[in-house]
């Protein structure tokens, strides 16, 4: 059982790291600011989410698990908000028709 959990943890954290890498490559390589934001959100949402999921399997008590989930939720909130704010500054007159 613990071997299965450990394997799942390694897989999830590696997948999370992959999304971080993909998000960073997107940040560096995408042509314009809006696409770069799109790349970054992948690291925020899926990267942190998968790492948190992987670590959740290793927690012992409900308090540590709650803290981990809170970290993920707060990152989601901050990421989504900041992305929206930056995107609005970039395009003050709303989305193109």
């Amino acid at each position: 059982m613990s071997l299965a959990l450990d394997t799942l943890t390694i897989l999830a954290v590696c997948a999370g790291a992959f999304f971080f890498l993909a998000g960073t490559v997107g940040l560096l390589r995408f042509p314009d600011a809006l696409s770069r934001l799109h790349g970054l959100t992948k690291a925020d949402n899926l990267g942190v989410g998968l790492v948190v999921f992987g670590l959740l399997l290793q927690t012992t008590g409900p308090i540590a698990a709650t803290k981990l989930v809170s970290v993920w939720l707060l990152t989601l909130l901050a990421g989504a908000t900041v992305t929206q704010l930056i995107a609005r500054v970039l395009r003050p007159d709303g989305p193109p028709e």
């Binding site: 809170s70 707060l74 909130l77 901050a78 989504a80 908000t81 929206q84 704010l85 609005r88």
Partner: protein, 311 residues
Amino acid sequence: MALDVGLVLFVLGVAVWTVAARDAFSAVIGFVVYGLLLALVWMRLAAPDVALTEAAIGSGLTGGLLLGTSTRLRGTETPATGKKSVTGLRLAAALLCSLASIGLAMIVLLLPEPAPTLAPQAAANMAATGLGNPVTAVLMAYRAIDTLLETVVLLLALLGVWSLTPDRFWGGLPGRGRNADPEGVLTFAVQLLVPVGILIGVHIFWVGSVAPGGEFQGATILAAMWILAAMAGLVDAPRVSRRGLRLMLVAGPAVFFAIGLAGFAMAGAFLAYPEARAKLLILTIEVPVTLSIAVTLALLVAGPPERTPQQ
């Protein structure tokens, strides 16, 4: 090992980048990243208390202050770059910083083996303070006078900022006032985030007696929550001449100083606590100190008053 070496190289790289950055805004961003990396370094050195302080105050709050400053200075910045005097100044600064770094490195490398430490004494006498976190014991008991002076320094910094107020705004309000967009993204996020943040701030303050945390870190988070709400335009800054506000600013240092003086009567020295009531007295100091630090930091970021008291 590889991780540590990588981290050190990364920190040095970001430091060089920050110094070499062309405009102040990029340099500030570099400084914030540098602070966060430094927090990771402290974690690797098993010093979570220092890491928390570095992330909250060194990187977060100072970064915020510097960001505000660089935005204000943007108009004056372009003519200042590229002059000869700037290069000379930079060379002099680089020289002095290198000398300081070399001196520090020499001191660390020439330490006797084993390095002198007060850690065993600090741990051995912790029971007398009633605290479970040795760092808090140092800050609130063994070296309480340093902490008292730090709270006074913060207050002096705020007085420095307020002294920049133009005469007509004296006693007025900092910032631009309430202008929240009720449908805005920021409004929604802030309404969701601030209660959580206040809870985390109080928690970090409260666990400081037994675990990493404490009044400076907790107060920074509380101040950050107010700053967020002010940025979203949901709250207005208070009139700086308001009596209640000034009481909150001085409550921490005043209570600290009063209990310190009472130490003469209770235990025979300034800032000495009688053993039976040490923890209670430390808490009595910590609560108003946290409040004062939070209000001071928030007002530091809010800046000098920019509106008349009537507005």
